[in-house]
């Protein structure tokens, strides 16, 4: 078993795992009763995308996308903080979610 062969298996399987993570988070994003769940899933998607980006840049062995990775991190953090800041300004309970909490 030559080492580069094992590496590519591990990396590709990691990529598949991350893609699965993204799909699962999407379920929560669409189903999510409260807005906060949706923001959480948005953050989750952000992070898994960063993971995917890292793996692709390793597979392509190009160092161009490292800045993009940093910007993705910034956007992930910034998006979440912006959404929570918005909710901090406007969120009132009565327009709360329709689903019951214990599903």
């Amino acid at each position: 078993m030559t080492s580069p062969y094992i590496c590519s298996i591990l990396l590709n399987s990691a990529a598949v795992l991350l893609l699965a993570a993204i799909l699962l988070t999407m379920v929560r994003l669409i189903k999510g009763p409260t807005v906060f769940d949706r923001i959480l899933s948005f953050d989750g998607i952000g992070v898994s995308m960063i993971g995917l980006l890292v793996i692709t840049s390793i597979l392509w062995n190009s160092s161009q996308f490292l800045d993009a990775i940093l910007v993705y991190c910034i956007f992930g953090f910034f998006g979440t903080v912006a959404f929570s800041y918005y909710l901090h300004l406007t969120y009132e309970l009565e327009d709360s979610e329709e689903g019951s909490i214990n599903d």
């Binding site: 940093l70 910034i74 903080v81 912006a82 901090h88 300004l89």
Partner: protein, 143 residues
């Protein structure tokens, strides 16, 4: 001005370091713009984002104290710099907007290829920062 800050000590503590980090990143992106992905526009937005995040944690007057110029003034100075670099070559008899590259050898950093495009980029940088922050601040402070 109603206080719109998110009052949390952790955020208050961390915000300065995050702002500092993102600003350095913006400067890095700005300087390497000419030869690698980056440039005035992108750096401008990154710096604007860091200011916005800072704005969330600090109240209006603290922000004014940090950014003691009105953002629109920043934008107009950026505009002024950009137009200046465009018109300057005309005074030296060169055609309009001719960029001049200066190759200097700095003892510490090796030889540097600095040029007037960087100035134009800096103008763009200031304009973008000024415009974005002006709009975000008017929205968030005026409620």
């Amino acid at each position: 001005m109603i206080d719109t800050r998110v009052k949390s000590p952790i955020l208050a503590f961390f915000i300065r370091y995050i702002f500092f980090f993102i600003t350095i990143f913006a400067v890095y992106i700005f300087l390497k713009g000419h030869n690698a992905p980056g440039g005035g526009f992108i750096a401008g937005i990154i710096f604007a984002i860091s200011l916005v995040i800072l704005n969330m944690a600090l109240s209006a007057d603290e922000m004014k104290q940090i950014l003691h110029y009105d953002p629109l003034q920043i934008a107009t100075t950026g505009l002024f710099i950009a137009y200046g670099t465009a018109i300057a070559p005309v005074f030296f008899g060169y055609p309009f907007m001719l960029h001049k590259m200066i190759h200097l050898h700095v003892p510490l950093l090796g030889n540097l290829h600095v040029g007037t495009p960087v100035l134009l980029d800096f103008g763009v940088f200031l304009v973008v920062v000024g415009v974005t922050t002006k709009m975000t601040f008017t929205f968030s402070h005026s409620s």
